[in-house]
Structure formats: structure tokens, C-alpha cells
């Protein structure tokens, strides 16, 4: 013992101390090994988050030192040396399991990362010369860096800057002069208030929001079909901003608006691309759906949380404390979000329907006793089907003009139509429009084990859309009303099927979307209501769910008799009581009752016509079309065929310490999932929610945020330039009842915002990027603003707010793709109202860095290229506005002076006049306007 101790002591000074596992070894494992050696299926079944025995540790470390691991990427020498020393010191493990996300290292952020901490409400520092809270934080930092602020910009520059910033348009000459001459002490604040109250404010800031919402008005992908009814979302954003909807409500509406009578707002979730070309194979479909979910999850997380959850779809986040399971928590919350067009509620229609119901009830009260009498006397005719096949009654088809075509070895005899469940089915194409309908079928099941076969189906010609009577597709041995992607399918809750004898199944679909199934005349489970399907010139199938005839879609059994009605049979009719005709009823009524009946019938008919007209052209909206969210699994490496743990729609672990859990089960209903998501996301205790939006506002006002990447406040974003200011603003937002206009007002009334933009050599040397804001950085007009400004200064800008978009392309469908050929555009509406088809981007706007509407763009790039020069010199719009403005200036006494006032907000200098006057004489006024529209001073804002 003594000997050993002395040996150890003796050896002590010669070697460095054993490395600390948690501090030095765990970070190496996290960075170099855990990508493969952790999670649900670790490589070589070696989970390096868990404690290793010294022997196992030796084996692992030796492979690293032999440079076999990590494959192809040997560790740097100093890391190898650390591991070696750790091994030699006995390979003592620390925290078990390793929590890779607890602490921030030099390589990645942990849960202690600044943006994940609660928002503090820092005290405003006392700084001389700062009577505005923002200025206090700003000047303190500036002074620390020994920089001085720039003087206030002059009034002409201020009004031009403020006007472009808040409403995206230049001030008129009259507005400029009024502001310059306004001697009231609060002239500037009045100007701010006027601009914030302008409806143009909503248009301007909606454009910023649509950038991050990746708002496009076509599907993208192969078809790229136009979304003619996506614009109400754009209008909703404009109106919400103009009304200064509190930001937490603004966010909530975009996540769950469709559940709360504000379906336009939910257009946010489905503003991205959507592939409608679906392969037959389930695996391929599932992978496509996962890609789509990544777009939705990624956008929600970037926009409202400023975190990049989409990076954790296939593996734990490389830089932020977001384990892969966190991605699937959000994916589970949003799994029921489907793309689609909804028919909007038309209040007038609802009113008419109510009236009709009242009148129908009155008429029914008159008829009821008569009907009872007729039933009692047995004078009732059975209901007449639209189409009927009674295979047991011989080969003659009843009253059918359409003939069944048998496919895949289907055969018929006097026992019925025989279907083998593999390839056999029968089909017939029908003419006309079907909405309400009834399937009435007598059948025998070949076996009770089959899954998913369609007995009778009415489908679109291509088989993509259908309603069908289906056996055991979702649940073994249960009947259901099958439909495309289960859109109109709900569990009926009927009993398990046990019979292989002849059964009669009757499935009714009423006009209002009520679906009811009867088995042998008795209700099977509960009926339910969905948005009804309308099919034009459909195909009727027997024995097939929908075409093509593949997979589990085919029914095995015999159909004895099949009938189709173009209306929903009533329960009485299904039970074989037949219908009473109106002639029969009228004949039985006395004269006064007959007159009342006729009057009621006339009113009902009138209402029917109105209702039909309204239903034929319903207001439509592209928004969330909920789909069955199913149960979400973590997918190993994002692969749809490698399902791991079931994941519930829970608060992600990265925020669990601050927020209450949703406690929802993995199979929670779609609406509950999204409501829970909206609740925790917008919770005042979620520090990211407020930080992200105030930083975004700052970004748009200054051209750069306090954090430079507005949709990423994670590790890659680094630290804010002014952390306390960011937190003060984030705390101020809820104090101002989440009013965005209040934050705008705060920012633009600060001294930092009002600084001049001219560069100063000494400051430039120290802080060339102006990170500490020693001046206001100049900006170039964005593409849309440039176009809008050209329209505005020539008095051509249409004042109309909202409505369907203008199209600057010729759009046509050619061989499966919608094309958008750009044509010379003539609309005078603001560029916001352009139809933003993904395949129809505008070359002029693109040249000036208009982003791809398929990618959420929190920060536009600003480039300078020769193509911009060509566009501004030669584009038809520029030449047109040059001519129009020249024409309106021609009558002015001082055309040159007015032109520069409109374009630059100032009068020309002597030198400019001396250059311009002879130019106009020689080349005309339009040529001068073209030059001015091309000039740097017009396209830049100081």
C-alpha cells in the first residue's frame, strides 16, 4: 500500500492531471462520435452516451487512436492525446448518460444558450443625452467603443426614409414641404403616427411577413397549378397589421385560424409548395409527405421560435440543443396539416338554408298525417334507383344506358358478379354531376380476413378522388365509407362483421355531407358529417376502391345486386317503406291546406334555386385542409421505413423547463394538437417568441437585426450586438399589449434611427460594418418598392386595397404543367398584389433580389449587377412610367424642379439644372425621367 502510494505520488509531477470527463472528454464524444453511436439504432450497437466499462472504453479509444474511427476523419492530435490520457488514468466516466444538450461548448449551443433563457427586463441605463430608452442602451455601447453618434439627418431625408420604411412609398412633394416647414416640437412624432395609421403600412409590412411565410400562389413541383384562392391570406395579413392585431393573436390565428372562424389566417401553414403528383407506392408517398412536413415544421419554428428544428429531422441538431425527438414533437403537432381548398361559409347561404328548413318543416307538418294514412293504406311506391344491376335476375340490365365492363377476370352468372380480390372488378363511366348519392348493395364476402377492398365506388376519371363502400381498410372486419386520403372517412363505430352470408349494405351521402351506413336496413354505427364530394362525369366501380387496380384495393366476394341513387335515401326508404309522391299527398289534402302547401312549395322552390346558385359558385379559400394525423414516430435518419419511438405532440425538450407540457397523447385529435402548439408557442413565458419578433422589426428598420439572422437565434447566430436592448424590447412588447405599432413607434422615434447616413472616416475605420450603429446605414429600394415608387411618383398607383391578384403573365396548362409566361405588365396596383406563382417569377423583380417564394426568406440579399442596369434602362414598365410622368410634368411651370422633388424629395442644384435643361431640350422630358429613375439617388434611401 505504501509502496503503491509512493509510486503514484512519485509519478505525479511527470504526467499532467487526468482529464475531467464532463468538461474535456464528453465534448469530444458529443462532437465526434454521437452522430452514429447514439439514438435508437446506434452503429455497432455501441451507445457512447452511456457509461462504458474501462475495458469497453479501452477498445473504443484504441480504435480512435488507430485512426479507424471516426471513419475517414481521424481526430486532431490534441484530442487523441486527451483520450489517451483519460484511458491511462483509468477511463473514469462522469455523468451517465452524457447529456449533449445541457451546456454550450465552443462547438455547439446547450440549453444554457442565451436565447433560451427567460427574457429579463433590464433597467434602462442612465446615459447623458439619452431620453429615449433605446438610445440609452445604444449610446452606452457606442461610448464603450469610443465611437460618437452621427448628427440627426435633415428633414427631407428623414421623411423620405420614414415613408419608405413604414409605408413603402415615397412622400409627395407637398408632404415633404409640409414636414420641412412644421415647427411644432412633435412634428416628427406626428408624421410617424400619420404613417402608421395609413393603410399602406399594412401593405408594406405584409410584404416582409410574406417573405418569411414563403407565400406562393401555385403548387410548385411538376404541376405548379395556380392557387387562385390563396390571396385572402395575404389580405388577412395586411388587415391584421393595419388593425395592429396583438402579435400573440396574430401568431395564433396563423396556426389555428381555421379552427376559430378565421380560416384565411391559417393559409400561413400551407403557403409553401405542395406536390399533387402521387405515386402508387406507399413508401414513396410517405417520404413525400415527410418532405412536406419538413417545410411546414421548419417554417413554423423559424418564424415564431427563431430556431431551426428542420435541421433535426434526420439526426440531432448539430449546433443547437434540439434532439431529433424535438423535431418529431413539432411534426406530431402539425401532422394533420394538409393542403387544400375550402369552400367558405357564406352567411347568406346559411340564412337561406335555415329559411328553407323552416318552410320544409311547415310543409312536413301538413304532409305528415297524410303520409301516415297512405302508409297505413299501403298505397306507396318503392324508391327508383338511378342505376341498378340485379345479377341474380338474369343478364338483362335494368334501365341502364351504361354497360358494365368487366376487368381482370371478373365474371358474372345468376349467382352474382364474382370478384377474386386480386385483379377483378367492373367499371362504367357515367355522365352528369353527383353530389348526394346512395350505394345499395347485396353481397357475400369471400372471407373476413381481407383488408381494404372496395365493394362499390364512385371516382373521378383518374381515380384520385372517390367515395366508396370499403371493407376493413382501417380496422379489421369493419365497414367504412372510404375516400381519397381518408378525407371523408371517419370511424363509424359499427360492430365487427361476422357473416359470410348475403348482406345488404346501404351507404347514403346527403347534400349537406352527412354520411350514413345501414347494414341490412339498420344503421351501422353512427352517421357523421363532412364536406361533401362533388364529381362530374365519374366512373362507377364494383369490386375496386379506386383505380388503378393494385394493392389492397380489390374486394373478394360476390355482388348479387347493386344500385346507385342520385340522392340520399331516408331511413324509411332504406327500410323499404318506399316514397310517397307529392301528387298523392296533394290529392289527399283539403282545399285551404292545398293552397298553403302550394304557397310553401313555391317559396321552397325559389329558395332552392337561390341556394343552388350560391352553392354553384361558393367563395373558396386555399388554407389548411385537415388530414388524419395518425401517430408520429421518430424516423431513424429521417427514413420513413425506419420507425422508432412513438412521439406525442409535446413541448420540445429545449423549452420544457419554461413551459407547461401539453400532456396530449400521441393519437390526440388534429385540432387539439394545433391548439396546444399555438398555446405554448405564444405563451409569454416562451422567451423566443417575443425576442424573435422584436429582432425582426429591428432588422427591417435598420437593414440588420440586433441578431443578424432573424429566423435563427441559435448557436450559429452568435450573440446579439446589444443583448440588453434586445431583452428590453422583448419585455416591452407584452407590456404594450403585444402592439407591433408601439414597437415601431419606439424604434423610429429614437435618435439612433434618426441619424444621418453619411460615412465618417474615423468611425468607418473602427466599425466598417456599422454594427454599433454610429450612423444609419443607407439601403437600396427592394424590388417591389422600386416598382411601386415609379408608379407613385407618376401618380399612377392604384389606391385599391386587397382583392384577387393581378397577373403579369400568360398562364396555360400544357402537358401536365401550368406555365406562366411573363408578358408586359400594365397593372397599376402595388407589387404586393402580384400573383406570386412559383414558376412565374418576374425577371424585373428577380433582378432586384426578389426572393424565391418557395424558400422562407428572413433577410433578402442585396446585390448589384449589370442585369439590374439593363432592367432599369430597358424594361417596358420603366419606359412607360417615364413617358407617363413626362406627360404629367409637361404642364408644370418647372418640370425639372417637380421631377426631382418627386423622385428625390429635394429641389435640383444649379449644376443639375445646367446639365438637365439642355438635355431636355435635345432629347425630351421622358428621356430625363428615364435617367432619374435609373439614378442612384432614386434607388437608394439615406
Amino acid at each position: 500500500m505504501t509502496l503503491l502510494l509512493s509510486l503514484c505520488l512519485g509519478a505525479g509531477p511527470a504526467v499532467s492531471p487526468a482529464p475531467d470527463f464532463d468538461r474535456q472528454i464528453a465534448p469530444i464524444l458529443i462532437q465526434r462520435c454521437l452522430d452514429c453511436h447514439s439514438g435508437p439504432a446506434p452503429e455497432a450497437k455501441l451507445d457512447l452516451r452511456r457509461k462504458l466499462s474501462p475495458r469497453a472504453a479501452r477498445r473504443a479509444v484504441e480504435r480512435v487512436l488507430d485512426e479507424q474511427m471516426p471513419p475517414g476523419k481521424p481526430l486532431p492530435a490534441h484530442e487523441q492525446a486527451l483520450l489517451k490520457r483519460w484511458l491511462e488514468a483509468g477511463a473514469v466516466w462522469g455523468t451517465d448518460p452524457i447529456d449533449p444538450f445541457a451546456r454550450t461548448t465552443t462547438q455547439r449551443g446547450g440549453r444554457d444558450w442565451w436565447s433560451l433563457q427567460p427574457v429579463r427586463s433590464p433597467l434602462v441605463p442612465t446615459v447623458s443625452g439619452a431620453d429615449h430608452p433605446i438610445d440609452a442602451f445604444w449610446l452606452q455601447r457606442l461610448h464603450q467603443a469610443k465611437l460618437t453618434p452621427s448628427p440627426q439627418a435633415d428633414r427631407r431625408i428623414l421623411i423620405r426614409r420614414l415613408s419608405y420604411d413604414l409605408i413603402g412609398l415615397p412622400p409627395s412633394p407637398a408632404e415633404v414641404e409640409a414636414f420641412v416647414k412644421d415647427t411644432r416640437p412633435d412634428a416628427y412624432e406626428r408624421l410617424v403616427d400619420r404613417l402608421l395609421a395609413s393603410p399602406r403600412y399594412g401593405e408594406r409590412w405584409a410584404r416582409h411577413w410574406l417573405d418569411i411565410a414563403r407565400f406562393g400562389e401555385s403548387d410548385g413541383f411538376e404541376r405548379d397549378l395556380p392557387r387562385l384562392n390563396a390571396w385572402p391570406y395575404r389580405d388577412w395579413v395586411v388587415q391584421a397589421l393595419n388593425a395592429d392585431r396583438p402579435y400573440d393573436q396574430f401568431a395564433r390565428a396563423q396556426l389555428i385560424g381555421d379552427l376559430e372562424n378565421e380560416a384565411e389566417a391559417a393559409g400561413f401553414l400551407v403557403a409553401g409548395p405542395h406536390d399533387i403528383v402521387l405515386p402508387v407506392g406507399e413508401t414513396m408517398r410517405a417520404a413525400m409527405r415527410q418532405d412536406e412536413l419538413e417545410d411546414i415544421v421548419g417554417t413554423v419554428a423559424q418564424v415564431f421560435l427563431g430556431l431551426t428544428f428542420h435541421c433535426a429531422r434526420c439526426h440531432d441538431h448539430k449546433f443547437d440543443p434540439i434532439p431529433q425527438s424535438d423535431y418529431y414533437r413539432l411534426a406530431s403537432a402539425l401532422a394533420g396539416v394538409g393542403h387544400g381548398e375550402r369552400t367558405l361559409k357564406n352567411p347568406k347561404l346559411e340564412e337561406r338554408k335555415k329559411q328553407r328548413e323552416q318552410l320544409l318543416a311547415q310543409r312536413d307538418a301538413l304532409e305528415k298525417p297524410v303520409r301516415a294514412r297512405l302508409y297505413a293504406a299501403g298505397k306507396v311506391k318503392p324508391a327508383q334507383p338511378t342505376l341498378a344491376w340485379d345479377f341474380t335476375a338474369g343478364l338483362a340490365e335494368m334501365q341502364n344506358r351504361a354497360t358494365l365492363v368487366l376487368h381482370g377476370g371478373a365474371s358474372r352468372d345468376l349467382q352474382g358478379l364474382h370478384l377474386n380480390g386480386k385483379e377483378a372488378y367492373a367499371a362504367v363511366a357515367l355522365k352528369g354531376t353527383f353530389k348526394a348519392k346512395t350505394f345499395d348493395v347485396w353481397l357475400k364476402l369471400a372471407n373476413l380476413e381481407q383488408r381494404g377492398g372496395g365493394v362499390i365506388s364512385l371516382q373521378s376519371a383518374d381515380g384520385n378522388v372517390f367515395d366508396a363502400l370499403v371493407f376493413a381498410e382501417q380496422q379489421p372486419r369493419h365497414w367504412l365509407a372510404g375516400s381519397d386520403h381518408f378525407r371523408r372517412t371517419r370511424p363509424l363505430g359499427g360492430p365487427e362483421e361476422t357473416s359470410r352470408d348475403t348482406l345488404r349494405l346501404t351507404l347514403t351521402y346527403s347534400v349537406d355531407g352527412t354520411i350514413t351506413l345501414y347494414r341490412d336496413g339498420k344503421p351501422y354505427g353512427k352517421s357523421y358529417r363532412v364536406a361533401p364530394l362533388e364529381l362530374r362525369d365519374p366512373v362507377l366501380l364494383l369490386g375496386l376502391r379506386h383505380s388503378p387496380a393494385v394493392g389492397n384495393r380489390l374486394f373478394a366476394g360476390t355482388i348479387l345486386k347493386a344500385q346507385l341513387y342520385d340522392r340520399a335515401l331516408s331511413a324509411e326508404e332504406v327500410q323499404g317503406q318506399g316514397v310517397v309522391t307529392s301528387e298523392q299527398i296533394l290529392a289527399e289534402l283539403d282545399e285551404p291546406s292545398r293552397r298553403t302547401h302550394a304557397h310553401l312549395s313555391q317559396q321552397i322552390e325559389q329558395l332552392q334555386r337561390e341556394i343552388a346558385a350560391m352553392e354553384a359558385a361558393p367563395p373558396k379559400l386555399y388554407t389548411v385542409q385537415p388530414i388524419n394525423p395518425g401517430v408520429t414516430h421518430l424516423l431513424i435518419r429521417g427514413n420513413v421505413t425506419s420507425k422508432a419511438d412513438v412521439i406525442a405532440p409535446e413541448v420540445p425538450s429545449v423549452l420544457q423547463a419554461l413551459l407547461e407540457p401539453t400532456r396530449l397523447p400521441p393519437d390526440a385529435p388534429e385540432s387539439a394538437r394545433r391548439r396546444a402548439l399555438a398555446r405554448w408557442l405564444t405563451d409569454g413565458r416562451n422567451p423566443l417568441f417575443a425576442r424573435v419578433i422584436v429582432n425582426r422589426l429591428w432588422h427591417y428598420h435598420f437593414g440588420r437585426g440586433l441578431v443578424e439572422s432573424p429566423s435563427d437565434l441559435g448557436f450559429n447566430a452568435g450573440l446579439p450586438t446589444h443583448p440588453e436592448l434586445l431583452d428590453w424590447l422583448a419585455a416591452e412588447l407584452p407590456r404594450q399589449d403585444w402592439s407591433l405599432k408601439a414597437i415601431h413607434r419606439l424604434i423610429v422615434t429614437s435618435r439612433v434611427y434618426r441619424q444621418a447616413s453619411l460615412p465618417r472616416a474615423e468611425a468607418l475605420k473602427q466599425d466598417a460594418d456599422n454594427r454599433l450603429l454610429w450612423r444609419k446605414s443607407p439601403v437600396r429600394l427592394e424590388a417591389e418598392t422600386l416598382r411601386d415608387a415609379m408608379l407613385a411618383i407618376s401618380d399612377d398607383l392604384a389606391p385599391m386595397l386587397g382583392g384577387p391578384p393581378y397577373q403579369d403573365f400568360r398562364s396555360y396548362f400544357f402537358k401536365g404543367t401550368q406555365y406562366y409566361d411573363i408578358v408586359e405588365e400594365t397593372s397599376n396596383r402595388r407589387s404586393l398584389y402580384r400573383m406570386w406563382a412559383r414558376g412565374g417569377r418576374h425577371p424585373f423583380l428577380d433582378t432586384f433580389d426578389c426572393p424565391d417564394p418557395s424558400a422562407s426568406t428572413p433577410r433578402r440579399t442585396v446585390t448589384t449587377t449589370p442585369l439590374q442596369a439593363l432592367a432599369l434602362l430597358n424594361n417596358a414598365r420603366v419606359l412607360r412610367q417615364s413617358e407617363r410622368l413626362a406627360a404629367s410634368l409637361a404642364s408644370q411651370p418647372d418640370a425639372i424642379g417637380t421631377l426631382l422633388l418627386r423622385a428625390y424629395g429635394r429641389a435640383p442644384t444649379e449644376r443639375e439644372r445646367a446639365l438637365m435643361e439642355p438635355f431636355v431640350q435635345q432629347h425630351g422630358l421622358a428621356a430625363l425621367v428615364r435617367v432619374v429613375l435609373n439614378s442612384a439617388e432614386f434607388t437608394q434611401v439615406d
Binding site: M288, C311, E708, S709, A855, P866, N874, S935, A936
Partner: protein, 461 residues
């Protein structure tokens, strides 16, 4: 044209030091290692060319003709119809010194076998056209990611300021499905997106005034503009304003360069004939190939030619669901001779050593037919599990076939190559380390190769 500060668009400072270093690594150094190729001509076949009828010789298919798929696995195909097996519709022969097997589908191209580097073991992630085409071009299956040409424009810029760095020559019969989405710059600055040249009228938008402007007015306007802008810039000393002035100068040069480069009448009759300009079948693609050579010669970094328009019937691309024999004959006839002429022309003009030619398709076709289970159909369905592409030109081992599919050409089994591998190899030939060409977007240093990709060393010279 873009200053460093513009490139970063305001990104900068302490926190983003890492970003900055990477952006500079990706760009300022221009190349990470000496480049073998300076520029790329990419021929992109839309619809899915059948590898087993062209570049992947599978004698077993003849043996299995009319039989069921010799596998118990049920294929997960696009249309879900698994018909009986079908032999190739063209005869395969060994070509040239290399003895590469190429079928009679491409008789002209076959004479250049010794100059091609075939990859017969491609695998894609989707058997759905558009996601697969997106992956072929951008590495990702979704909209909104930059195309390969945009990445190269971003990474290397153009060799000339007078032409765009990334030019697209769509099929004369129509844009591919999805249209301009296919050559988007995604999240890269918009200037890197592909510029589609028209074959008739003005090649690009806004090259000249939309309405005529008298020449003296044009000249005086430019002069007045320059005077105003110089005065504005003098006060402010901003990089952007200097760049803007330069932009207007270059615009003038572009107005001269673009009409010159697109004027095919400057080529000799012999050259025009070689490209098939006088034959109706080959005139369209011949013009595109000849224009591609001219653009490439003038320093356009990435010229992309599309063979095939959108989908639907009658077919105008390679999507031979109904009848491969008929469909592929028509499509190949349009491009075979022009592509062969392009390769020869590049060789004759000494451009071969610095140009990389790519010939790709989004996926191949199935060895079994798309028909009823008991039928030998005439068409084939999509097959993303195995297909062929080729490369030619700078930095490659010519006359080589790399990788293999299984006995029947269904799945790639030996030396499997994915799109990220392919893209990594292309970037490598251009002197770029695919892991270092990155652009920060919403939380990720995005790459053309996502988080994948290995350079295929065995095909490099």
C-alpha cells in the same frame, strides 16, 4: 461585381466570424485545389432515359424476356403495374478500343465511346419525376434549393462579366415540368439563378429598350446618368455605389456580347451541318448544342441543356411508359448527332481539356414492363434504384464504365453512386471541395451535397 460586404449582406461581426470564414473559404479562394475543368455543359434528359436500353448492357434480360420478375420482392413503382420482363429494344455492341457496351439507340454517340466515362450504378431518392429532377439538379427533393449551376455561379462566378455565369437552354418544344423552378438560385442571391436564353427574338429580357430609343439619346442618357451618379457617389464613398457605376458600364458590354454569341450564322457551314442544323429532326437540339459551345467558349461557367419538355401525351420527353421503343427512338434521334458533334467540336477546338460535359437523367426505367401481370408490355415504369449517366472531358478516365446494377439492371449493387456523390465529383473537378462550398440559410451551412457525398475517385484521371 459584388463586394464582400454585399455578399454577406450585412452578416458579419464577432458572432458570425465562423460564417464569414466559411463564406470566404467558399468563394474568395475561388478554388480549394487546382481545377481540372473550368466550365460545365450539362445535358439533362427529362422523363427518365432507359439505362437498360442504352448504356447498361444486361444479357440476362434476353433470357428473362416474357418471364416474371426473378425476385420475390414486390417492386414499389410509380404506377404499381408489374408486367413481365422485356429484353432491350436495341442491340448492344462493344465500341471502340475501350469495348464499352452501348446500344444502337445512340449510333453517333457510340463512336465516341472511348471518350465517355459511364456511371452505371446511379441511385436516386425518388421515383417521382419532379422531386427526382430537383434532386438531380439541386441535391434536394423540394422546391427552393439552388441548382448546381447557381452553386457554381456563386462559388466561381463567371469567367467573363459580359455574360451570365449560368445559362439555360430549354428544349425547343417547351420548358421542363415545373418551368423556371428548375434553375432557381433558391436561397442564394437571385443573381445566381439560371438565365434562360430564347432561341428566337431577344435572347434575354430587357437586353434592349422595350421601345426604340434614338442612339444619340441613349448615349446622352448614359452620360448624364453617369455624371449624376458619380456626384452622388463622391459624397458617400459607398462600395455599392461604385459597383453600381461599374454595373452600368458592363451592361453596355453585355448588349454587344449577347447578340454576338447567340448569332449562329457566324459558324461555318460545315460546323452547322455537323450539328445537324439543316435536318428537321436535329435542328432544335443542334442549335442548342452549338450555342452551348459558343457560350462555354466565351466563359459561361455552366450551360444547361434540356432534352425533353413536360409530361403528358403525346410524349415530348423520355417518359416511355407506353412504348419505350417508339418514344426513345424519337427522343434519341433529336439529340444523338448534335451531342456527338458537340463532343468532337470541343475536342477540335482545344476546349475538351477544360470543359466537363455531363449527360444525366433523373432516373432510369424498370426491367419489367408497365403492364398487366401476365403481359409483356412495351413501356417501362420509373426506376430510381438503378440507372446510368455519363461524364466526359476534363479530368476523367475515358472509356470507362464504373459500377454495376444487378443481373437485370433493376438495382445498383456495386459501387453505388448517389446524386450527392455525383455532385461532389463535379465540384471536385472544378477545384471545389463540396464540403466547403457553403451558404448560410436558416440555421444551416447549406451545401449542394447536403450532409452527404463522396468524390468518385476511381473515375478521375
Amino acid at each position: 461585381m459584388m463586394t464582400r460586404r454585399e455578399l454577406l449582406g450585412g452578416l458579419g461581426g464577432i458572432a458570425l466570424a465562423t460564417l464569414l470564414a466559411r463564406e470566404q473559404a467558399g468563394r474568395a479562394a475561388l478554388t480549394h485545389h487546382p481545377a481540372k475543368a473550368k466550365r460545365v455543359i450539362h445535358i439533362c434528359l427529362c422523363g427518365g432515359m432507359s439505362h437498360i436500353d442504352s448504356f447498361d448492357y444486361k444479357p440476362a434480360l434476353i433470357k428473362y424476356h416474357g418471364k416474371k420478375l426473378p425476385s420475390s420482392e414486390k417492386p414499389d413503382t410509380f404506377f404499381g403495374q408489374i408486367g413481365l420482363m422485356r429484353q432491350p429494344d436495341w442491340t448492344f455492341r462493344q465500341r471502340g478500343q475501350s469495348g464499352l457496351w452501348i446500344s444502337d439507340l445512340f449510333p453517333h454517340l457510340a463512336t465516341l465511346a472511348d471518350h465517355l466515362t459511364l456511371i452505371r450504378s446511379m441511385q436516386a431518392e425518388s421515383a417521382n419525376h419532379t422531386p427526382a429532377t430537383f434532386q438531380e439538379n439541386s441535391g434536394f427533393r423540394f422546391n427552393g434549393f439552388p441548382a448546381m449551376g447557381a452553386w457554381l455561379s456563386y462559388g466561381l462566378g463567371a469567367e467573363t462579366d459580359e455574360l451570365p455565369a449560368f445559362v439555360v437552354l430549354p428544349d425547343a418544344r417547351g420548358y421542363p415540368a415545373g418551368g423556371t423552378i428548375n434553375w432557381s438560385a433558391g436561397f442564394l442571391p437571385a443573381r445566381h439563378q439560371g438565365v434562360a436564353f430564347r432561341t428566337r427574338g431577344q435572347p434575354i429580357d430587357d437586353l434592349f429598350p422595350a421601345r426604340p430609343v434614338p442612339p444619340d439619346t441613349e448615349a446622352a442618357s448614359r452620360e448624364l446618368l453617369a455624371t449624376l451618379d458619380r456626384a452622388h457617389a463622391e459624397q458617400r464613398q459607398e462600395d455599392t455605389l461604385a459597383a453600381r457605376l461599374r454595373g452600368y458600364e458592363l451592361a453596355g458590354k453585355m448588349q454587344l456580347a449577347i447578340p454576338r454569341v447567340t448569332d449562329l450564322s457566324r459558324e461555318s457551314r460545315r460546323t452547322q451541318e455537323a450539328y445537324g442544323l439543316s435536318e428537321p429532326d436535329t435542328a432544335d437540339f443542334g442549335r442548342a448544342c452549338l450555342l452551348a459551345r459558343r457560350l462555354s467558349e466565351q466563359g459561361v461557367r455552366f450551360v444547361q441543356l434540356f432534352s425533353g419538355g413536360p409530361f403528358g401525351s403525346p410524349r415530348i420527353n423520355w417518359d416511355g411508359h407506353e412504348n419505350v421503343q417508339e418514344n426513345h427512338s424519337n427522343e434519341a434521334r433529336r439529340i444523338d448527332r448534335p451531342v456527338a458533334a458537340l463532343l468532337r467540336d470541343l475536342q477540335q477546338r482545344g476546349l475538351w481539356e477544360e470543359t466537363l460535359v455531363l449527360f444525366t437523367t433523373e432516373f432510369g426505367r424498370t426491367p419489367f414492363t408497365q403492364a398487366g401481370a401476365t403481359v409483356v408490355g412495351t413501356g417501362r415504369d420509373h426506376n430510381h434504384l438503378g440507372f446510368s449517366v455519363w461524364l466526359a472531358g476534363a479530368g476523367l478516365k475515358p472509356g470507362l464504365a464504373y459500377g454495376n446494377t444487378d443481373e437485370i439492371g433493376w438495382k445498383s449493387v456495386e459501387d453505388v453512386v448517389t446524386w450527392p456523390d455525383f455532385h461532389a465529383t463535379v465540384l471536385h473537378l472544378l477545384g471545389i471541395d463540396h464540403e466547403k462550398l457553403t451558404f448560410y440559410h436558416n440555421g444551416i451551412q447549406r451545401r449542394l451535397t447536403n450532409v452527404h457525398g463522396h468524390v468518385i475517385k476511381d473515375i478521375l484521371a
